[in-house]
């Protein structure tokens, strides 16, 4: 069932008030939602329990970290006994669904509030903008500034949330949609007593349109970047990689608790390096930048949700999504797997069928 949130002041404030109501009515004990930092240079998912401390802006067009990772941190050891509502964008929700499958997050007592995403900006662009950047992105006026990952988003509409705050199909100066997707979500809405919306059809059409647009973008982008192949171009692409592993650290679905590349397995005796160099006669150091990238691709590609945090974290500005977007689509297509789509579906590498992939044995 779809409801209406009347916009008072502006869209971020309206959602802020809705979250405040959740807290004051005792529907939830705390929330995690994007909040601008006092300097205005950044915004972070922030955990808030005191209603008067709420100054959220869930539409702040920035993705400094995946909230999926944050929920994993909060629930991995043991989920809270009290109720926690979390506001996430679609890519963050997809990541969280993957983390649940990986037993690295637990959604007990967690209420998931998805929010339609109009895209996010790079850290630099966000910092350089005035205060109205939220509205500009919300109204699609800054499309040229969006991050590559957002331009080619897999799906900007949240899936697997209890409630979805909808902007697509809404005039964000007047109203927002509130879509109750689960029983939990419906209970909350009925407790708060909200008005049903008549805009369901309009929303459905708007959602379909944006999905189609993104899919088209993505296909064209992959086609355009498909020339990055073969040893020459690949080595050139990764030429400026400093092997810092930032891409792995920020990746919400890079799931190993200790990455093999951060372990002592690559700490070798001097003689081993001397022997290694004999093989080729010369070796760039630190070694294994491409080995790291290739192996990381194998580990996380089937769960890649396309958030582009890897690209954003790269100190050498390697446009990682140029390669990863196509790799992810090809790999996920091969296994007919859509990460973040169905929480009940098993990860492709932990299941098998007796008769499949027989062409792999041909060679």
């Amino acid at each position: 069932m779809i409801y209406e949130l009347k916009v008072e002041e502006d869209a971020p404030m309206t959602v802020n008030n809705f979250l405040k109501e959740l807290l004051t009515e005792g529907e939830v004990d705390a929330v995690i939602a994007m909040t601008e930092t006092p300097s205005g240079k950044s915004a972070f998912p922030t955990m808030i329990s005191h209603p008067e401390k709420l100054s959220t802006n869930v539409f702040a067009p920035l993705l400094p970290v995946s909230t999926g990772t944050v929920v994993s941190k909060v629930t991995k050891v043991k989920p809270p006994k009290k109720t926690l509502a979390v506001v996430l964008r679609s890519c963050e929700l997809r990541a969280l669904t993957e983390l649940v499958k990986l037993n690295q997050a637990d959604l007990e007592n967690i209420i998931l509030i998805g929010v339609d995403c109009s895209g996010t900006l790079s850290m630099d662009t966000y910092q350089g903008q005035d205060q109205d950047i939220t509205e500009a992105v919300l109204k699609n006026e800054s499309e040229d500034d969006l991050r590559t990952a957002c331009l080619n988003c897999k799906d900007p509409v949240p899936k697997n949330a209890d409630l979805v705050i909808g902007t697509f199909g809404a005039d964000t100066d007047k109203n927002l949609f509130l879509d109750a997707k689960t029983e939990k979500g419906a209970e909350i809405v009925s407790a708060l007593g909200m008005d049903e919306s008549e805009g369901e059809e309009v929303r459905e059409k708007a959602v379909q349109d944006i999905r189609d647009e993104k899919e088209e973008n993505r296909k064209a982008f992959i086609q355009e970047r498909s020339e990055i192949e073969g040893p020459d171009k690949l080595l050139e692409f990764f030429d400026t990689c400093v092997n810092c592993h930032n891409c792995m650290k920020v990746c919400p679905v890079c799931y190993c608790n200790e990455c093999i590349f951060e372990s002592s397995i690559f700490d070798l005796e001097g003689d081993k390096y001397m022997k290694k160099v004999e093989g080729k006669g010369a070796y760039k150091t630190p070694t294994d930048s491409l080995l790291f990238q290739l192996t990381r691709f194998n580990h996380m590609m089937l769960s890649c949700v396309g958030c582009g945090l890897c690209e954003q974290a790269c100190p050498s500005d390697i446009p990682l999504m140029d390669v990863i977007t196509g790799l992810a689509d090809n790999a996920q297509e091969l296994f007919e797997y859509e990460p973040g789509d169905d929480p009940e579906e098993e990860l492709p590498l932990v299941v098998y069928r007796e008769e499949e992939f027989e062409d792999v044995e041909e060679r």
Binding site: L235, K284, D288, L294, E356, F357
Partner: protein
């Protein structure tokens, strides 16, 4: 190394890394040896506990260090000592090959074969086949790359 440089004009002899499962393929290779079945000496065998335990990192490493071919040997489907390790290995290899294909990185240098403990001849034939096919492909281009 120096020996290889001197013989550069001679026919290319591929270097093959074999990752063979303890329970089947490694025993198959052993049987080939004890039965005195001749096979090309191009393969360097590393024993692993299960083909399912072969993480792509090992294969990628061998590829980037210049191995001309890599053989992953496991038990026949249904015969895995750990029940389903080989099925999982097949999925991992399908993913690895898919990624290498997208990147244009010669997935055909990777071979996944099921060889049982009683198939000494099969092991010898497999090595022979890999050597022949790899000679057609030529040396691994990554062998000359120092900047990776």
């Amino acid at each position: 190394m120096s020996e290889e440089v001197e013989n550069a004009d001679e026919e290319f002899e591929p270097k093959i890394v074999g990752l063979l499962c303890n329970w089947c393929s490694y025993a198959g290779a052993d049987l080939a040896g004890t039965s005195r079945i001749q096979y090309p000496p191009n393969i360097r065998v590393i024993r692993v506990m299960c083909s399912g335990s072969v993480d792509p990192v090992y294969i990628n490493r061998a590829l980037l260090d210049g191995a001309d071919a890599i053989l992953i040997g496991g038990c026949h489907p249904g015969d895995c000592h750990y029940i389903d390790g080989n099925y999982k290995a097949r999925r991992k290899m399908a993913l690895l090959k898919n990624i290498l294909t997208t990147l244009g990185m010669e997935p055909d240098r990777i071979w996944l074969k099921w060889i049982s403990a009683s198939e000494g001849q099969e092991f010898a034939d497999t090595v022979q086949e890999i050597v022949e096919e790899t000679k057609k492909m030529g040396p691994n281009p990554m062998k000359e790359r120092w900047n990776l």
